[in-house]
């Protein structure tokens, strides 16, 4: 309502963030864990004088640069790009709260880029110790970047007392939120585990020498297993420090139940495959085995990110900004003054579309032509609901969700949206609830009869649509 809403048909605009951010985390965790892998392994290869391993690591560093510096870095910027377009209020609040956290992270990003390029492009042209130091500088800078970004993303899930306790609205209170430590531990583990999976895949495809491949398999198994343990410990702490709304959502939404079960299953599968494969039987590392392992890991990671995004509802920033770009403290004002007339862009739209319907800065519904009434209903839907719901078809589309509900039920549901604790409260006047209900009825398909087909009594007017 403070900013124009971007209508993305079928998908909904915020789903673009989901797509970009999942792609990004799959590379950014490797950017952290892979840096550590290269620093540790280059040191080992220099110490043992293993030229074949050094050659392999040189090739891996090229792959690493190509993936992390290009795709990882650009998708990282892409997340920024997209959140500004789809969640401008949340982005504004986050930037005003954390700008110096981001700026500090940028400094580490600069160090990362410089260290990564020197490490790769000056391979063999620096003394061993200096070359290894470059690797360690990269690894340290990348991990600190992870810590800094985690402080911000963790705040989005649980802001602690930041929004509710007077005097707590400081950078430090926001950064050291209840989710900070659990997520830092889990993400560090994720970086170790995921990078090992990438190493396995890369080694299985490029290392032709069996001795070398077996050594890589064995040496990367320990950080992978340590990563799995850290993910588990961090994951348990993550669950313990969830805000109540997130815990409730996680427990009650069927799809999330399935996804949680899936993530456990995938983690266990990955853990045992690493233990049985690279750790106990390094010779198993074939492209098929490594590819499967990598796919399982990527599936587990993507599932985890999806769950993390889903359970934030009804907030996009816990207790600070609701999923539909409204600050919680604005809700009562909007109910009083009207959603359409309080929003910057909705008010302008009303003024353009039906100026005569505005009386004393309030919408007089009796002066709305039927077409305008439906248009304003759609405006209310797009600005109030389209963050999470497509219209007739698409992501969590409202039409199919309402299927067959009568008008009075739809209106009652609108007015009491937050009876579902994962939905933001209705933020308009009762009249606006009627207007949006009228629009919703136009995208509300008839209810399939189902068992009612057999429950019809003689003379019943019940419509059988099947």
């Amino acid at each position: 309502m403070h900013y124009p809403w971007w209508y993305v048909p079928y998908l909904t605009a915020p789903m673009l963030i989901a797509v970009i951010s999942v792609l990004h985390v799959l590379v950014s965790h490797y950017a952290v864990g892979g840096g550590l892998f290269l620093a540790v392994e280059v040191r080992h290869a220099y110490r043992t004088g293993d030229r074949a391993y050094l050659d392999y690591l040189h090739g891996h560093a090229g792959f690493f640069i190509l993936l992390t510096v290009v795709f990882g870095a650009i998708t990282g910027v892409g997340i920024w790009w997209t959140i500004g377009l789809t969640s401008p209020l949340a982005t504004e609040v986050l930037i005003r709260t954390f700008v110096f956290g981001w700026a500090t992270e940028w400094v580490f990003f600069v160090v990362e880029i410089a260290a990564a390029f020197i490490f790769y492009y000056y391979w063999g042209r620096l003394p061993e110790k200096t070359h290894t130091t470059m690797g360690w500088i990269y690894a340290a800078a990348a991990w600190i970047s992870l810590v800094l970004i985690t402080g911000i993303t963790a705040f989005m899930l649980n802001s602690g007392g930041w929004a509710t306790q007077p005097g707590e609205q400081t950078f430090w209170a926001a950064f050291f939120n209840p989710q900070f430590l659990p997520q830092t531990v889990a993400r560090t583990g994720g970086a170790l585990l995921l990078s090992s999976l990438y190493v396995y895949l890369h080694a299985s495809l490029t290392a032709k020498d069996a001795r070398l491949r077996n050594m890589i398999a064995a040496r990367s198994a320990r950080p992978a297993l340590l990563g799995a343990v850290l993910i588990t410990v961090g994951g348990i702490a993550w669950y313990c420090f969830l805000p109540p709304s997130a815990t409730a959502t996680l427990q009650s939404a069927a799809v999330l139940n399935v996804l949680v079960a899936l993530i456990f299953a995938l983690t266990i599968v990955v853990f045992f495959l690493i233990y049985l494969g690279p750790y106990r039987n390094p010779g198993w590392l074939s492209p098929g085995f490594a590819g499967s392992l990598c796919l399982f890991g990527i599936a587990a990671f993507s599932t985890g990110e999806f769950i993390r995004e889903s359970i934030r509802k009804p907030f996009i920033v816990h207790n600070v900004v609701l999923a539909n770009q409204i600050a919680p403290h604005e809700v009562m004002k909007l109910r009083q003054n009207g959603f359409l007339q309080s929003g910057i862009w909705t008010r302008a739209f009303v003024a353009e579309r039906c100026p005569t319907a505005v009386v004393d800065n309030q919408i007089d519904a009796s002066k709305l032509a039927p077409r305008d009434r439906l248009a304003l209903g759609e405006t209310l839907f797009l600005y109030h609901c389209n963050d999470c719901h497509a219209g007739t078809l698409g992501y969590s589309a409202a039409g199919p969700l309402l299927k067959g509900r009568p008008r009075d039920q739809v209106r009652a549901m609108v007015e009491r949206l937050d009876d579902n604790y994962f939905m933001p409260p209705w933020s308009g006047t009762p009249e606006e609830a009627r207007i949006i209900s009228d629009y919703l009825m136009t995208i509300n398909p008839a209810r399939p009869a189902g068992p009612r087909h057999f429950m019809k009594t003689e003379g019943s007017a019940e419509e059988d649509t099947e």
Binding site: V8, L66, A103
Partner: protein, 396 residues
């Protein structure tokens, strides 16, 4: 038509964590530093590809046999042109990484103080703005693909050449999208018509482009003019500072001659685009303010800066200046970009002031995090300098 003032939110989501001058300083400084590598991929990539194309099919490591006559001279000039193209292309992956990295700074600070302008403007053209990322990834990989082709002693597969040209076109398209977005950030008066022309029930479709804004085209061309100048300066700076033993004095002489020609084109180009921008598109009020005291010196300095740098190029070329001379020239070009960035900021503030004066926003300075950032900045810079020093120490 809607009064555009209706569309600018006056409410603050939270106080600014630093004074506006500090934010503007980092925004302008960040943009200036970003402009250097950005200029090199904007115009430099095109020029490098063209020079390679013009330079024939030979490799860039073996100088053609020197014979008397103008044909031989042309062949040698083509060889050097190709050599510069190769050098710039090989540097391009690092240049892009540095440029993207430095671009984060102005992006961060524009969102901080100018959120009320930046978000609506970019949301109105959301698909195109989002498209920047979708173009940047293939453009970046396209550059890598071309550069890998250089490993084969100069022989380049046709598909790699095509990919390289596509990357250059993508970067031009990205520049055009940026010019659209930033002109829209500045010109709120353009919002209502673009919004009403591209909306469904008041929600924007994100398909608007600010092509009807008269300032868009000269702005875009102006930046391309600066990019030509930066590429010219890079040619001599690279020859003196980075090429070292890889090139001889003949190449360095060629670089000066090339820089002189290219910078002349750049200066004429910026003069034409700048005049069009100032005298053809600025509103009377804005022109009066910018051409009156106290902003007159800034406007004049911005206008003559490319000319002053051109004089430096001429002097440097006639003296065949070495490292110190090219360093002075590079600082001069940085000054051209810097003073342009300052003027752009001033013009932006003047254009936006009727809608919202950003300097009146509440400020609550976050001293601790601010010090953390400044301290990290100094340490980070020291680490980067140390790393570069190590490279120089062991690679002289």
């Amino acid at each position: 038509m809607i009064d555009p003032r209706m569309l600018v939110d006056q409410a603050q989501a939270a106080p600014l964590p630093a004074p506006v001058w500090f934010i503007e300083l980092f925004k302008v400084l960040g943009f200036t530093l970003h402009a250097v590598p950005m200029n090199l991929w904007y115009a430099g990539l095109l020029i490098a590809l063209w020079l390679r194309l013009r330079g024939g099919k030979g490799d860039s490591h073996h100088l053609p046999e020197q014979r008397d006559g103008c044909c031989a001279q042309t062949r040698i000039a083509s060889f050097f042109a190709r050599q510069f193209g190769d050098r710039l292309l090989r540097q391009m992956p690092v240049i892009i990484a540095v440029g993207v990295n430095l671009g984060i700074v102005p992006l961060l600070f524009i969102q901080l103080a100018y959120s009320k302008f930046f978000y609506p403007a970019t949301i109105l053209m959301a698909w195109f703005w989002f498209g920047i990322i979708m173009l940047l990834i293939p453009a970046y990989y396209g550059v890598y693909t071309y550069v890998w082709g250089l490993r084969n002693g100069g022989r380049m597969a046709k598909w790699r050449v095509a990919v390289g040209w596509c990357a250059a076109i993508f970067f031009i398209a990205i520049g055009f999208t940026f010019a659209n977005g930033l002109s829209l950030v500045e010109h709120v008066s353009r919002w209502p018509s673009l919004w009403l022309g591209h909306n469904v029930a008041g929600a924007t479709l994100g398909t608007a482009l600010n092509v009807g804004d008269p300032t868009l085209w000269p702005r875009w061309l102006l930046m391309f003019g600066f990019a030509l100048g930066t590429t010219a300066v890079w040619a001599v700076f690279d020859a003196q500072w980075f090429a070292r033993d890889a090139v001889g004095d003949d190449y360095r002489r060629w670089a000066w001659s090339f820089a002189r020609k290219l910078y002349t084109v750049s200066m004429l180009w910026t003069a034409a685009a700048g005049s069009w921008y100032v005298f053809g598109t600025w509103a009377d009020d804005l022109r009066r303010t910018m051409l009156d005291w106290p902003l007159l010196p800034l406007t004049v300095a911005t206008a003559i800066a490319p000319g002053a740098c051109w004089v430096l190029v001429l002097i440097g070329g006639s003296l065949q200046a070495r490292r110190l001379g090219t360093a002075v020239l590079a600082i001069g070009q940085l000054g051209v970009l810097g003073i342009n960035a300052v003027s752009r900021q001033v013009v932006q503030n003047l254009d936006q002031r009727p809608y919202l004066d950003v300097t009146t926003q509440a400020v609550d300075v976050q001293w601790g995090p601010l010090l953390m950032f400044l301290l990290t900045f100094v340490i980070g810079l020291a680490v980067v300098v140390w790393m570069i020093a190590q490279v120089r120490k062991y690679n002289t």
